[in-house]
Amino acid sequence: MTAHPTRRVTLRIWRGDRNDGRFVDYVADVDEGMVVLDAVHLVQATQAPDLAVRWNCKAGKCGSCSAEVNGMPRLMCMTRIDQLPADEPITVEPMAAFPLVRDLVTDVRWNYEVKKKIRPFRPRKPDAADGTWRMDQEDVDRVQEFRKCIECFLCQNVCHVLRDHDKHAEFIGPRFFVYAAALEMHPLDTEDRLADLRHRDGIGYCNITKCCTVVCPEHITITDNAIIPLKERVADRFYDPIRRALRVLFGD
């Protein structure tokens, strides 16, 4: 095995709980190719055993280790240290849009509650002779983009409607517009979620700043491919003057 160079870095990690907290500097010698999560683990194993951090796969597939690295929402497991500025401390802090549990761990349960409210998948009756369905790859492709989502909630974290305006009660956030879009555009689905999207889920709050798309580690085109088409469907249903007149006459 070839020897590999190590580098000394300072990690400025947020330590604290709901009541109180501060940044603490840790010095660590990191190997070539290490990601931020590795450095955090190194600190945990050698200097701060109770440092709270959530992680699972360490391969960008589970979406557990979301945090803000040098102020940018990222997966710690996919952020290489050698791609960060070498001459300054690396700051690592928890996502800001969710309540802090401890250190780098936040309480993301709100997301699970929101998801449960969205009407589930309701397929049409199987229509192929063998009791299943036929679907074209082309129709599946569009939805597969949305189904790449690893639920890291970085898009939720960066969305100003949640992060700055705290509209958690009235707005479901980009992740769940992507989820709703995946269901609405599913080739087999027959459920109707447009009224919910307009009235309950607050799709009107999104003013298309595209921050969510920028931070998505799965490169899902959240705004253009999911949110805007949903907004169009909602507008067609509720703001089309002819449909509006019909609704006044005949009800929903």
């Binding site: 945990q44 109770d50 992680w55 391969a59 589970c62 699970y112 036929r134 189904r147 087999l188």
Partner: protein, 605 residues
């Protein structure tokens, strides 16, 4: 002072929320049982999410010669006939229905030209058999089960770890768990418990497994009096990343080879053609041209040697590296970019489309573009074939009311698992465990919990806080990983296994002196300390069984007994906790196979 806890009552408690746990919970709930699920992570983050290649089911969409019989014979051959034949039969018969059911719950698999579920090639499967979604099939599966499951009235407890199974006399009575977030104890009284905790990869240094894989279910079952079986069979996946050091062990899907990827040594030689086992010779291509024709769907061609079973491919790679013919960072080359020679410029797009997360993973973590350069890969601990011994029909263990499904259960895979047979295992036997657990729960009354047991277990769990200046749990875990990697690895010898046993005993002594600081709220140091006991227990079981099996078969290779010995093909090794607390080993003869199944195996040879 008594330790406080929150108390929940349910009929079926499922431990683990990967594919098997979620499928079990859905079925138990559908059968009318009040069902709760505890999981160490957040919902949807379990290790299933990392499965890449696909789930094996003889749908026969791509090759109409496929059937449950061929799938059954492939599974038995891959497992070197130590599989519980009844489980292999059930699995092959029921997997197609489980895949279709997933589609009915919203999963979107890649499609054939005529709009059906597409299937891909994988090691040891005679025909293209894996339903898949690019290289993120596990994510599709877990998300589908999660999104379906949350509407079924199941009680989910996230970031809650099971610490001890509770019993009422001989039967199961529930479990003592702790919430990771606040560190509080939670006691579940349950008529039936389904273990779906996955595997043991964290007992090794180089592994594709996440932190959760600490053998919890194996150890919980063992201490509750259940039998473990086939523990000597640990699967080294042939292709893990080897560079950079921090990602060593991260999985590179077998799908790369399924799509035409080839293995080469330092000299550019395709070494897999050099060593083709006798029992696969009839099914394996004789030259690269035939191998490629198989990849692109020529029904007259046989599969390339890169698609031999994982145990064999991993050993061949290991041999090249040991012989000094490896790549610069101690692996070999896995090359998918070469298909440009066949597909021209379309190759690049094809690779990115079929292997998007591999492309992304190498680009981001290693700075390698797999559409132009070869990857460096080497074996990584991936899976344990061994686990809780269960009834093939119901998945119930030797302990009444205790069930197991998925990786934590033994039997389906024998001495070696075929790629793609795990995801289908989770669904087929997850469903069965849930169904029969609910049935069992209906047939019994509520158990009685023993408060002394609960208090004793709670005190044990908190002991690391009581000690000062003891061992660092992270350092101990690392020492165990080094020991298992070096002494109970891909090639084993008696001398090394004996040293491993001594080492494990010493680590066990030191583990009694582990101390942790801080408080009980989200304290990974404490969690790591509590993970040591199950890790040590499974490590000891693996080592003892590996010592006892004086032959080489499937995932177990003994340098001092390099050949397969028919005498050892007649039994499984079973590990139990004796009355005096020591680990005891027993040879259990295989159940005789019905003639009909023997005939199927003969016909498929």
């Amino acid at each position: 002072m008594a330790h406080g806890y929150e108390r929940h009552d349910c009929e079926v408690l499922v431990i683990g929320a990967g594919g098997a746990g979620l499928r079990a919970a859905i079925e138990a709930s559908a059968a009318g049982a009040r069902t709760a699920v505890v999981m160490k992570s957040l919902l949807g983050k379990a290790h299933t999410v990392m499965a890449e290649g696909g789930m094996a089911a003889a749908l026969a969409h791509v090759d109409d010669r496929d059937s449950w019989k061929v799938h059954f014979a492939d599974t038995m051959r891959g497992g070197q006939y130590l599989n519980q034949w009844r489980m292999a039969e059930i699995h092959a018969k029921e997997a197609p229905e489980r895949v279709r059911e997933l589609e009915a719950w919203g999963a979107l698999f890649d499609r054939t030209a005529d709009g059906r579920i597409l299937q891909r090639n994988f090691g040891g499967h005679r025909y293209p058999r894996l339903a898949h979604v690019g290289d993120r099939t596990g994510l599709e599966m877990i998300r589908t089960l999660q999104d379906h499951g949350v509407h079924q009235g199941i009680d989910f407890h996230m970031e809650t770890t099971a610490f001890r199974l509770l019993k009422d006399g001989e039967r199961i009575a529930g479990a003592l768990c702790y919430e990771r977030e606040r560190g509080r104890f939670v006691v579940f009284r349950a008529r039936a418990v389904v273990l779906a905790t996955g595997g043991i990869g964290r007992a090794y240094r180089i592994t594709s497994n996440s932190w959760e894989y600490t053998g919890d279910g194996h150890a919980l079952a063992y201490h509750a009096g259940a039998s473990l079986m086939d523990m000597e069979f640990v699967q080294f996946h042939p292709t893990g990343m080897v560079w950079p050091p921090s990602v060593r062990g991260v999985l590179v899907t077998e799908g790369v080879r399924g799509e035409g990827g080839v293995l080469r040594n330092r000299d550019g030689h395709r070494f897999m053609f050099d060593d083709i086992p006798e029992n696969y010779r009839n099914q394996t291509a004789t030259d690269p041209d035939e191998g490629w024709r198989y990849v692109i769907g020529d029904k007259n061609a046989r599969r390339p040697p890169e698609l031999l079973t994982r145990d064999h491919v991993a050993r061949c790679i290991n041999r090249e590296i040991k012989a000094g013919r490896g790549s610069p960072h101690g692996g070999v080359y896995l090359d998918i970019a070469w298909i440009r020679e066949k597909l021209g410029d379309a190759a690049r797009e094809h690779i990115r489309r079929k292997l998007p997360s591999m492309y992304h993973q190498f680009k981001q973590l290693a700075g390698i573009d797999i559409t132009v350069e070869p990857m460096e890969v080497g074996p990584t601990v991936h899976y344990i074939m061994g686990g809780v011994r269960v009834d093939p029909e119901t998945q119930m263990s030797d302990v009444p009311g205790l069930f197991a499904a998925g990786e934590v259960a033994a039997g389906l895979h024998g001495a070696n698992r075929l790629g793609g047979n795990s995801l289908s295992d989770l669904l087929v036997f997850g469903r069965r465990a849930g169904l029969y657990a609910a049935q069992y729960a209906r047939s019994v009354s509520d158990p009685t919990l023993d408060e002394d047991d609960i208090q004793r277990a709670a005190a044990e769990a908190l002991a690391p806080f009581e000690r000062d200046g003891g061992e660092n749990p992270y350092a101990l875990q690392r020492e165990l990983q080094d020991l298992m990697q070096d002494l109970v690895g891909i090639v084993r010898t008696e001398a090394e296994l004996l040293r491993a046993l001594e080492g494990i005993a010493r680590l066990r002594e030191r583990a009694r002196n582990v101390s942790v600081g801080g408080n009980r709220e989200y304290n990974p140091g404490w969690h790591t300390a509590l993970d040591l006991e199950p890790l040590l227990t499974v490590s000891e079981a693996i080592t003892r069984a590996a010592l006892e099996r004086k032959e080489s078969r499937g995932g177990h290779f003994r340098d001092d007994y390099p050949n397969k010995d028919p005498q050892y093909g007649a039994f499984n090794l079973v590990v139990r906790k004796a009355a005096d607390g020591t680990m005891q080993l027993e040879r259990r003869p295989l159940a005789p196979m019905p003639e009909e199944l023997t005939r199927i195996i003969e016909e498929q040879k």
